[in-house]
C-alpha cells in the first residue's frame, strides 16, 4: 500500500463514497462529525474526480500512483525542463539538469514522502505556470492569455499557497521586465494589462467560482477555521523549522526522516548548491543583456525565497512575523517551507546556467599542462567537460542518497495492511445502520471509515493530546458518546508506530496501558476477534439506539434518507410542535430544515427552520408543527456551489473550445 504522512488510506467503501460532485459539506473524510468543506473544495474536487476510477476497478494505491504520484514526479521534471527552454533552447542536456534539480531535491522528496500530494502537484506545475506567463508577458496575445489563465487555475486547484507564491513571482517578473522594457503608451498599455492581468485572472476566478462564491457569500475563512494553533504569531515561530542555512542550501530541515518538529544539523555538502547557483552571476555578460536579466531575476527570486522559507528565524525573522500578521494572504504560511518552491525554481535555472558555462569553458580547454607535462584531450566522451558534468550529476544524487539507501519513510516506503484492520473493515461494513467509531487516543491510518461509519478521533473530540485526560473524560462521557451515535470505542493497533509515542518513538507500554484503562470503563464491553485492535461496544441507551437523526421526545418516529452529504429527507410521525429534532453532524448555522408539505405552487418553500446548537457540537431543529410530515435538511452553501459549478463548467468549455479553435487556426 502507498500510504503515509498526510496521505490517507481509503477502503473501497470510502472510495465509493467520494465519487460525487463537489459538495459543501464533508461528512466523513476529514472529521467524523462533519465539517464544512467549502475551503477545501478545490482539492476535494480533484480527489472526487480521481476516485471515479475506482468504478473501473482501480485500487486506491493505483489511483494514488497514476493520478497523484506519477504526475507530480514526471510533471515537476518536465515543468522545469520547459521553463529552462526560455534560456537554454539549444542545450537539451542543461534542460535535463534543470528537471533533475527541480525534482531530485530534499524539499520535493519530503513533500512527496510526507503524503502532501496536492502540494506536490502544485509544486510540479509551478514552473510551467511561470513559463506560460513569461511567454504571455513577452508576447501578449489572446491565445497565450487564455492558456496562462488555465495553467493558473490548475495550480490553484492543487494548492492555493503554491499558487499564491507563483502569482507573486509572476507579478514580480512583470515589474522586473517593466524596468527594462520600453515605456508603454496609453494605447498599448490598456490591451497589455487586459491580456496579461485581467483576462487570466477572470479565467482563474470563473474556473474556481464554485468554491470562491460560497466562500465569499457565507464569509467563511478557511484559514481562521483552523484556530489559533495554526494562525497565531506563536504558531509561526514554532513552525519555522528551517534555518537560513537550510533554506539557501535547498535542504529541508526534516531531511531525511521527516519527523514533524525534528530538525537536523546542517549538512555541509549542501552548501555547494548556493555556491553553484550564485556563481551564475559571474558568467553574466554585458553583451547578452537578456540572459543577464533572466539570471538576475532568478537570483532575486532565490534570495527572496530563501529569506521567506526560513520564516521567523534569523536574520530578520521579525519581518516574516510582521508579514504574517499584516500582508494579505501570508496567513496561509504558518509553515514557511512552502517558499522553498521559489528557491527550487530559481536553482533549477541558475545552477544549470553555471554548469553550462563551466562546461563550455572546459570544452574550450582541450590542451592543458600539469608540471610542465602537456596534455591534449581528443576524445568526445572521455574529456574534462563530460567528467565535470557527470561529477555534478553524481553530486546531486549523493545529496539525496537516503532515497537510494531506502532511508526515506512515508509514502515512498510501501507498507502492508494488517489482517486485524481487514477484519475490522469487514465487521463494520456488514453493519447497515449509521454509527460512528471512536478511536482512543487517535484514529489509525488503516482504521476503517466511510459515510455510514465515520471515525472520530478522541484527541479531536476532547480537544486534548494527553492520554490520561482523554481516558478520564471518556469515563464520564457515556451519554455524550450515545448522543454522538458512537457505537464502538476502539484502541488501535499502532502498526506504523505513529500514535503511542514517547520521545517520538513507539512505546508499547502506552498502548497496553490505554487498553487496560479502557477495559475498566463500565459502560464499554469488549468485542473479540480483532487481534491487536481492542474494540469495545458502547452500551445502548435505555431509550433505544440513536441514529443520524434522533429526538429526546419519545413520541417521535423518525425515518430518514441520505440524498447526498448536504441533503437529507426526513419523515416525521407523531410530532408535537416544539419537539426537538437532533441532527448529529457538527453544528453549522447554515443547516436548515425545509418543510416540504408547505411548499407553494411556485415550488418555493415557505417554512424554513434554522439550525440551533445542541450541546457543544450538534444541530437541533425545533419542529414547527404537530402531526406527521417530511422535512428536507439542507446545507445552504450548496446552492452557491451548484451555481458556481455551472459557471465553472461553462467557462471551462468556452476556454477549451477557444483554445482548440485558435490552435487549428494557427
Amino acid at each position: 500500500m502507498i500510504v503515509g504522512g498526510d496521505w490517507p488510506y481509503l477502503w473501497n467503501a470510502a472510495l465509493t463514497n467520494l465519487i460525487h460532485f463537489p459538495y459543501a459539506w464533508d461528512s466523513f473524510l476529514n472529521n467524523g462529525l462533519g465539517v464544512s468543506s467549502i475551503g477545501t473544495l478545490w482539492i476535494s474536487a480533484y480527489l472526487s474526480a480521481t476516485s471515479l476510477f475506482s468504478t473501473l476497478g482501480f485500487s486506491w494505491s493505483a489511483i494514488t500512483i497514476i493520478f497523484w504520484l506519477l504526475p507530480s514526479i514526471i510533471g515537476s521534471f518536465f515543468s522545469a525542463y520547459i521553463l529552462s527552454k526560455v534560456f537554454f533552447k539549444q542545450h537539451i542536456l542543461v534542460r535535463v539538469l534543470s528537471g533533475i534539480i527541480y525534482t531530485a531535491n530534499t524539499y520535493f522528496l519530503l513533500v512527496i514522502g510526507g503524503g502532501q500530494l496536492g502540494v506536490a502537484l502544485a509544486y510540479a506545475i509551478a514552473p510551467f505556470v511561470l513559463y506560460r506567463f513569461i511567454v504571455l508577458i513577452n508576447n501578449p496575445k489572446l491565445y497565450f492569455s487564455i492558456a496562462a489563465g488555465i495553467c493558473g487555475a490548475i495550480v490553484l486547484l492543487f494548492d492555493p499557497r503554491i499558487a499564491y507564491i507563483i502569482f507573486l513571482s509572476i507579478l514580480f517578473y512583470a515589474a522586473f521586465v517593466s524596468l527594462f522594457e520600453q515605456k508603454k503608451n496609453r494605447e498599448t498599455l490598456f490591451p497589455f494589462i487586459l491580456k496579461v492581468v485581467v483576462l487570466p485572472l477572470l479565467i482563474i476566478f470563473f474556473l474556481h467560482v464554485f468554491w470562491i462564491l460560497p466562500l465569499l457569500i457565507f464569509h467563511q475563512n478557511p484559514v481562521q477555521s483552523f484556530g489559533a494553533v495554526y494562525t497565531s504569531l506563536d504558531a509561526i515561530r514554532f513552525f519555522s523549522f528551517a534555518t537560513f542555512e537550510n533554506s539557501i542550501s535547498l535542504l529541508h530541515p526534516n531531511w531525511p526522516e521527516n519527523i514533524f518538529g525534528k530538525t537536523y544539523f546542517m549538512k555541509p555538502e549542501f552548501i555547494l548548491l548556493p555556491v553553484f547557483a550564485f556563481a551564475s552571476l559571474f558568467f553574466v555578460s554585458k553583451k547578452n543583456l537578456k540572459e543577464g536579466r533572466h539570471i538576475l531575476f532568478f537570483s532575486i527570486l532565490a534570495v527572496i525565497g530563501a529569506f521567506l522559507a526560513k520564516g521567523a528565524n534569523d536574520p530578520f525573522g521579525g519581518i516574516f512575523v510582521w508579514m504574517f500578521g499584516h500582508v494579505p494572504g501570508f496567513i496561509m504560511f504558518r509553515d514557511p517551507t512552502k517558499w522553498y518552491t521559489l528557491v527550487a525554481i530559481s536553482y533549477s535555472i541558475l545552477i544549470p546556467f553555471t554548469i553550462w558555462k563551466i562546461y563550455g569553458f572546459l570544452k574550450s580547454r582541450t590542451q592543458f599542462s600539469i608540471l610542465n607535462f602537456q596534455f591534449l584531450i581528443k576524445s568526445k566522451i572521455f574529456n574534462l567537460q563530460n567528467f565535470f558534468l557527470t561529477g555534478f550529476i553524481l553530486y546531486l544524487f549523493f545529496l539525496i542518497r537516503p532515497v537510494f539507501l531506502g532511508q526515506l519513510d512515508g509514502i515512498l516506503k510501501p507498507v502492508k495492511v494488517s489482517d486485524d484492520y481487514t477484519k475490522l473493515e469487514q465487521f463494520l461494513s456488514s453493519q447497515q445502520t449509521f454509527s460512528r467509531t471512536f478511536w482512543v487516543p487517535a484514529a489509525q491510518r488503516f482504521g476503517f471509515y466511510s459515510s455510514l461509519h465515520p471515525s472520530v478521533s478522541a484527541r479531536d473530540f476532547f480537544k486534548s493530546v494527553d492520554n490520561t485526560q482523554i481516558i478520564n473524560t471518556l469515563k464520564t462521557s457515556e451519554s455524550l458518546l450515545q448522543e454522538s451515535v458512537i457505537k464502538y470505542v476502539i484502541v488501535p493497533y499502532d502498526s506504523q508506530g505513529e500514535i503511542f509515542l514517547k520521545d517520538r518513538k513507539y512505546n508499547t507500554e502506552i498502548y497496553q496501558s490505554t487498553i487496560s484503562d479502557v477495559k475498566k470503563i463500565p459502560y464499554l464491553k469488549q468485542v473479540d476477534g480483532f487481534g491487536k485492535i481492542a474494540v469495545f461496544e458502547v452500551d445502548p441507551p435505555a431509550a433505544g439506539i440513536k441514529d443520524h437523526f434522533w429526538s429526546p421526545a419519545q413520541n417521535l418516529n423518525i425515518k430518514y434518507k441520505v440524498i447526498n452529504p448536504t441533503k437529507y429527507e426526513v419523515e416525521i410521525k407523531n410530532a408535537q410542535k416544539g419537539d426537538l429534532l437532533i441532527f448529529s453532524e457538527s453544528y453549522d448555522r447554515n443547516w436548515q430544515a425545509i418543510m416540504s408539505s408547505l411548499r407553494s405552487s411556485s415550488g418555493q418553500a415557505r417554512l424554513k427552520v434554522k439550525s440551533l446548537k445542541f450541546g457543544e457540537r450538534f444541530n437541533r431543529f425545533i419542529l414547527p408543527e404537530d402531526g406527521s410530515y417530511s422535512l428536507e435538511i439542507y446545507y445552504r452553501p450548496q446552492d452557491w456551489v451548484n451555481i458556481g459549478l455551472v459557471i465553472s463548467s461553462l467557462t471551462l468549455i468556452s476556454v477549451i473550445t477557444f483554445l482548440v479553435w485558435s490552435y487549428k487556426k494557427r
Binding site: L179, F180, Q182, K183, T243, F244, E245, I248, M266, P268, I271, L272, P274, V275, F278, A279, L281, F282, V284, K286, L289, G292, R293, L296, S299, I300, V303, A306, F307, D314, P315, F316, G317, G318, I319, V321, W322
Partner: protein, 120 residues
C-alpha cells in the same frame, strides 16, 4: 607575501578613521539595543547592527561590485569548512554575511543591466 602584508598594513593605516567609525557604531548599537524599550527593535529585527555595519562599509569604502560577489560566494565555501569543524556560532554569522553580500550584488546589478529607455 611580505609585500601583501605591507600593503594591507598601509591600507589599514589609510582607512583607520573609517574602520574606527564602523567599530564604534557597532559597539554603540550593541549597547543601545540592550537598553529597555529600544531592545524591542532587536526583538523584531535581530542582526540589526550587522546590517548597519554592512551599510557603513558600502557607504565608506565603496567596494567594487564584483569583489562583493566574490567574497560573498567565497564565504559560502569557507562556511563548508566551518561546518566540518562544527563552529556553529560562526557558521550562522558567516552565512548571514554572505547572504547580505550576494543580495547587495544582485540589487546593484539591476541598475547596471538596465538599458536606457527610448525617448519616444
Amino acid at each position: 607575501m611580505k609585500n601583501k602584508f605591507k600593503s594591507f598594513h598601509q591600507w589599514i593605516v589609510k582607512n583607520k578613521g573609517k574602520l574606527f567609525t564602523i567599530i564604534i557604531v557597532h559597539f554603540l548599537l550593541t549597547i543601545l539595543l540592550y537598553l529597555p524599550y529600544i531592545n524591542l527593535i532587536y526583538l523584531v529585527v535581530t542582526f540589526f547592527q550587522y546590517l548597519v555595519d554592512w551599510i557603513l562599509i558600502l557607504v565608506l569604502f565603496h567596494p567594487a561590485k564584483r569583489k562583493i560577489l566574490v567574497v560573498g560566494i567565497a564565504l559560502y565555501g569557507i562556511n563548508y569548512f566551518l561546518y566540518l569543524l562544527k563552529i556553529n556560532s560562526l557558521v550562522d554569522w558567516v552565512g548571514n554575511v554572505s547572504y547580505f553580500m550576494i543580495a547587495t550584488y544582485v540589487l546593484f546589478s539591476i541598475r547596471e543591466i538596465r538599458k536606457p529607455k527610448s525617448k519616444n
